[in-house]
Subunit: 184 residues, 2 copies
């Protein structure tokens, strides 16, 4: 399928490593198979539903919504066309929804940093290399991005996976320059 | 956000029921909070990665891929345009991928019916009311649809949620008539 990201796990059988795609599947796999449930909240936790909602919101809603506007742009629909405006409005609604959550909570699931934050941070950082997203006025998201990207885990992952990206640019209000192959 | 589906759970506090959107979140919530893990495979199961992959594939890949072609159509891109062809080709790749899996396995995660099947069946049945999908030649999917839709749980859920839909049409090769408001 030509998917990205992909996890290779050679633990069980080094000669025939398991290959796993789908970012949410990879996150669940690592958390529950090797992380002893770390970065997830357990079913009996009072914020379990919040955790699940925000974990799934990143790929189930936010990414497709931004991708829809990306497609509209790639199709050459002018920004004053009702179709572009509709797609843009949906992005603003989704981003505003995340922002409100993060003005009222330190992390998406509440008081604890979880995989919901991990799944979502990509949409407001690296994803902006593919589709611009101006974060002017979204103070909740901007402060949360600061908290997320200061974490040692984030720094280590980026140093390994995307060493060419400038984290300061990724989290800036205007965001990084969109990849030149995509143009804007 | 105006989301659908939504789960209302008044178990903990009848006067202030919990509302949960995102179909994958709802599935995980019911499975792990009330289902004692039923319809999921546990981390120590040899097909755990398969289960996670196909559970997340439905919303993470298949649905967005079909939606992309839907958008292309709604934008009035002609079917002989390279952009339509590209979107259509991606749908065929994704559907072929599911088909191959189901020619080699009874259910998506392997030998057991799981939530991966539940999440995916919608894309090949009810979703075709929104975007046509011809299943000619996809014998793996067609036989699996028969197995899924014969299950009592499916019949009960459809009788309650979508009583106006004809299951025989939903699983037919040509699929149901696309909702008239969407046209084709």
């Amino acid at each position: 399928m030509g998917a990205s990201p992909v996890l290779e796990d050679a633990t069980a059988d080094p000669s025939n490593p398991l290959m796993l795609a789908e970012s949410s599947a990879i996150a669940d796999y690592l958390i529950h198979k090797y992380g002893n449930g770390r970065l997830a909240l357990p079913p009996q936790h009072p914020r379990y539903a919040d955790y699940l909602y925000w974990f799934h919101f990143a790929n189930g809603n936010l990414q497709p919504t931004v991708f829809r506007r990306f497609m509209t742009r790639q199709f050459g629909i002018p920004t004053d066309d009702a179709r572009f405006k509709g797609a843009d409005e949906r992005v603003r609604t989704a981003v505003g929804w995340v922002d409100r959550r993060l003005r009222e909570n330190e992390w998406l699931a509440g008081d604890e940093f979880t995989a919901a934050d991990v799944m979502t941070v990509w949409c407001f950082t690296t994803m902006r290399v593919f589709e611009p997203l101006d974060l002017e006025g979204y103070e909740g998201i901007l402060k949360w991005l600061e908290r997320c990207t200061k974490r040692e885990g984030y720094r280590r992952a980026m140093a390994r996976g995307d060493p060419e990206l400038d984290i300061g640019e990724l989290v800036s209000v205007k965001g990084p320059k969109v990849h030149e192959a995509l143009g804007v």
